[in-house]
Subunit: 225 residues, 2 copies
DNA sequence: TGTACATCAGTGAACGCGCGTTCACTGATGTAC
DNA sequence: TGTACATCAGTGAACGCGCGTTCACTGATGTAC
């Protein structure tokens, strides 16, 4: 095999990165194969050596973006185990950084609706991703809390996160961050209902903050208010 | 003027109806001018006598859909003035009927994200619509409630509504309605916080239920649970 | 160590289809006389 | 009342562009000797 074993895998990864960012920033319909390949430093012809079709890429790029953004959002979460982990995750999601950087953020508000209407494969990827998100939020609550409570809070928090981000992005910049602040206030109240307490101390999830995605002054303002 | 004055206006309205339904059901990118005109019982060539471009139609169809769906959701709201009006509006939005009928429902979860990335005009329509929705939700709360409280609850409720509907539509049918139920439970709790009481009695908004959009058994189940 | 070779990642021209848009034309309608 | 006419809503062929996809080719690479 005349090429390094890892070479092709790395190229594929570069295409995925480019696609995941472009789709999140501009939407699926507005981004062509040629755009993506250019962003990856390649020419359009090479695309089909890595993916069977645009649909195929779409599903893969969504999953890729989802993984990326979960990592990114964890770095914004202050990960303080003594506080409410579900709330922390939601506050990180509804942060100014996430608002300002759709290209690195959650793909659900960016192109979830578009994905849903593409191939069966793409849709299945979305469905599986939503299930996973709900399960993950469930696990951020004290294990012994009633199932009904956990389901309710996970569902409500996720809906608020996704809807809040879409709506904030539909407003202009200042209105958008104002709106996000109101959503955070809302969840602080809503997730602090008496029936969730007492909480168990949980393991810390603290991560190092990636430089390009470090908390901005706006996020610090977010946290204070 | 050799044609009835109202004729052209009515045709335009038929195109708008067709476009608003098609965009909500299949998304903007998947629906062509020819599809829409066919749905309106016309041929594609006549389109430009009514709209300057697809972009132009897009903005108009969004506004049209928004008005339509607000009316539709009001018929699902039981309009009982003695109960919480904000909650009632949210429960109607998060109903099984709305889940099953994107083509008659709110355009924000259906193609808000796509609209946002089109022309400046389309985007401005979305922004204005979100502002209007927030104001309307604000007005459903007791006037004398603190501004901060009203903003928080309106923002949170709207985020939950839009996000909840998108996510429910991303799941399969049974999972989707289960998920919506959890969202409704969440809002029942979240909107019933002590600081909103006491509530003033408000004017009733009761409307007659349109036959094709009457409450389904699923909605009645929604209300019971 | 150097050279010939086989492999295959990536190139870029070309194809074909769909869709937004245009335009010359048709024919239904109300008006004038 | 009936006929000629002007208007303009709607038709459908055609255009051109962009994009997904294909394919014959190039050239960079590791291997064999």
């Amino acid at each position: 095999m005349p090429w390094p074993k890892e070479h092709k895998r790395q190229t594929r990864e570069r295409i995925l990165d480019a696609a995941a960012a472009a789709f999140r920033e501009h939407g699926v319909a507005q981004v062509g194969i040629a755009d993506i390949m250019r962003r990856a430093g390649l020419t359009h012809g090479g695309f089909y050596a890595h993916f069977a079709s645009k649909d195929d890429l779409l599903a893969a790029a969504f999953a890729h973006a989802s993984t990326q953004s979960n990592k990114m959002l964890e770095t914004l979460d202050d990960g303080d185990a003594s506080t409410d982990q579900l709330l922390n995750a939601a506050l990180a999601y509804l942060s100014s950084t996430h608002l300002a950087h759709p290209e690195h953020g959650c793909p659900v508000p960016s192109f979830g609706a578009e994905l849903m209407r593409n191939s069966q494969k793409a849709r299945a990827t979305l469905t599986a991703d939503i299930r996973k998100r709900l399960k993950r939020l469930n696990r951020l609550m004290p294990e012994q809390a009633p199932m009904e409570t956990k389901n309710r809070l996970a569902a409500g928090a996720l809906a608020c996160m996704v809807g809040g981000m879409i709506l904030a992005r539909g407003l202009n910049e200042t209105e958008g961050s104002e709106y996000l602040k109101h959503c955070r206030d809302f969840l602080r109240e809503a997730l602090a209902k008496p029936d969730r307490r007492p909480e168990l101390p949980q393991k810390s999830n603290r991560r190092r903050v990636a430089s390009s995605l470090a908390k901005t002054p706006a996020d610090r303002r977010d946290a204070r208010e």
